[in-house]
């Protein structure tokens, strides 16, 4: 009983919270395989998204916020081919009028978008993910380059992206906001640790 109380006091000193029990956590194994077919394994790096990260996101992307499920501890996966790092995989959620859209982002070692796919998207327009010209707008771009695709309201995508998205403008803006938050949070929380995989 004493040990139990000591451990509880220790936990109170941490700032973790995650709404669902940890037994429900599942690694996106099939999706990482799809984004990095040559990978032999993945390396998890867990970091905490807290209120200071949230404030940095609000500062960098005015009019934006993080959904409460985005706070707490999250995993960035390093796709490995034996001992070589191929790139990174990060899953983030963005609120939409069809519930949360969960997107799996593959990033290269310079934190540019390499590819992406929906883990969960319940929009009737989810076929947007098969639109190569839409995806190509993202691929190879870093945070600053993608930020230039935001319109002046800071929420919606500008016409460069919307022209490619055809009849799915709302979902296109959701994907853009998710991409920006993913790149920003990856750099803020994991950037320093990831330097060892990209020593140049």
């Amino acid at each position: 009983m004493k040990i139990f109380i000591i451990v509880i006091l220790f936990v109170f000193s941490l700032q973790n919270s995650y709404a669902d029990a940890y037994c429900s956590l599942r690694d996106p194994v099939a999706q990482i395989q799809q984004l990095y077919p040559q990978k032999t394994n993945q390396l998890s790096i867990v970091k905490t998204v807290d209120s200071s990260t949230r404030n940095l996101v609000k500062l960098a992307l005015p009019s934006n916020d993080l959904h409460f499920s985005e706070l707490g501890q999250h995993t960035l996966y390093v796709a490995m081919k034996n001992t070589e790092a191929l790139g990174y995989v990060h899953v983030r959620s963005e609120q939409s009028k069809w519930g949360l859209v969960e997107i799996i982002w593959a990033l290269d070692k310079n934190l540019k978008i390499k590819n992406f796919t929906f883990q969960r998207c319940r929009s009737p327009k989810k076929k947007l993910i098969d639109n190569e010209s839409f995806k190509n707008v993202f691929i190879g771009k870093n945070y600053e380059e993608l930020k230039s695709l935001l319109s002046s309201d800071g929420i919606t995508a500008n016409n460069i992206l919307l022209d490619k998205a055809k009849d799915s403008p709302e979902l296109a803006s959701v994907v853009l906001r998710c991409a920006l938050k993913t790149l920003l949070i990856t750099d803020i929380l994991w950037g320093e640790e990831l330097k060892k995989f990209n020593p140049k």
Binding site: Y22, C23, V46, F68
Partner: protein
């Protein structure tokens, strides 16, 4: 338990970084109020526990992960009470999930899970209900929800599967009166909008032999979900006298677009050869996730048919849950 501790130590040896790397720890507390109108009884269940998740890694990548959930659970006037307790006001340390999953094998080999885990069967295999009012009735239908043993699992390109052999001792890591549970499920990937799974179970728990085959599905359309589980099988409670049993659960749920509010309704029909008529239940529940830490939930269960020798079930439950 000793075996489990030894395995944790073996996992830790090649780990890269210290034990706190990739470690999640949350304090999980809940207070549940149960108002049972059928028996004119009001009871409470309090639980305070630690929920942990740790990924073990080497320079080549992840080796596996561990889940550990230990809860101090206190009953207050709870009748009937679970076999894990000794009286209606008892308190006990309860292990919920406590397992290691070794994931570093070659691509063609399955992952290996060892410990205390949820039986891979039906809806519960892909939807966690531990500590929630939402339930898919593993314990009632299969004899236990969690058991100690060994499992093989893998997520492939188009399907995922898990098969396990466990000891049938429920909360105890041992066989009791030749108990065992052999169960498994194969299904489409659990992140899709349409998920279908097939399960089997062959078990002997508490001297009751059970055999089951089941199909389960989940279909999500925007913020709506339509879920179901249909199981067929037979029970042998009295030595070589098998009795057929059919069970079906249908659920319709709806979440708000920010996913803070969730409503669900379940219709459950159980048909037993030993009973003259089927048992029909309705569950209605609502949960409100105020933030990442605090959740309020309310549920009501009503029996539609009139049982031969008992009152109709009529239970209202309220739960406050806080995770830190």
């Amino acid at each position: 338990m000793r075996l489990f501790t030894t395995i944790i130590m073996l996992f830790s040896v090649p780990s890269y970084g210290d034990f706190s790397d990739n470690l999640r720890v949350s304090l999980d507390g809940s207070a549940r109020l149960n108002v049972n109108s059928a028996t004119s009884n009001t009871s409470r269940i309090y639980a305070l526990g630690l929920d942990t998740h740790k990924v073990f890694s080497s320079v080549n990548g992840d080796i596996g992960y561990m889940v550990g959930q230990l809860y101090l659970t206190k009953l207050s006037n709870q009748t009937p009470f679970s076999s894990l307790f000794d009286s209606p006001d008892d308190k006990q340390f309860i292990i919920r999930e406590a397992h290691l999953n070794y994931t570093a094998g070659p691509k063609w080999l399955p992952n290996v899970r060892v410990g205390h885990f949820t039986l891979p069967f039906g809806l519960e295999a892909s939807i966690d209900t531990n500590g929630r009012l939402l339930d898919y009735y593993h314990g009632k239908n299969l004899g236990t929800k969690l058991d100690w043993g060994l499992g093989l699992n893998k997520v492939l390109t188009n399907v995922e599967y898990e098969i396990s052999y466990t000891l049938g001792g429920k909360n105890e890591p041992k066989t009791i009166d030749s108990s065992y549970v052999f169960s498994g499920r194969i299904g489409s990937l659990s992140h899709y909008d349409f998920i279908i799974g097939f399960s089997f179970l062959d078990a002997k728990i508490d001297n009751i032999q059970r055999k089951r085959l089941a199909i389960d599905w989940q279909y999500y359309w925007q913020t709506w979900g339509f879920l179901g589980e249909i199981a067929f099988g037979k029970d042998d409670k009295f030595q070589n006298k098998w009795q057929e049993e059919r069970y079906s659960l249908l659920e319709l749920n709806k979440t708000s677009i920010n996913e803070q509010l969730k409503f669900y309704g379940q219709y459950i029909v159980t048909d037993r050869e030993s009973d003259k008529k089927s048992q029909q239940l309705i569950n209605i529940g609502i949960s409100y996730q105020i933030d990442a830490k605090l959740e309020l939930s309310l549920s009501s269960r009503k029996q539609l048919d009139t049982p031969e020798s008992a009152n109709k079930q009529n239970l209202v439950r309220f739960q406050l849950r806080y995770r830190y």
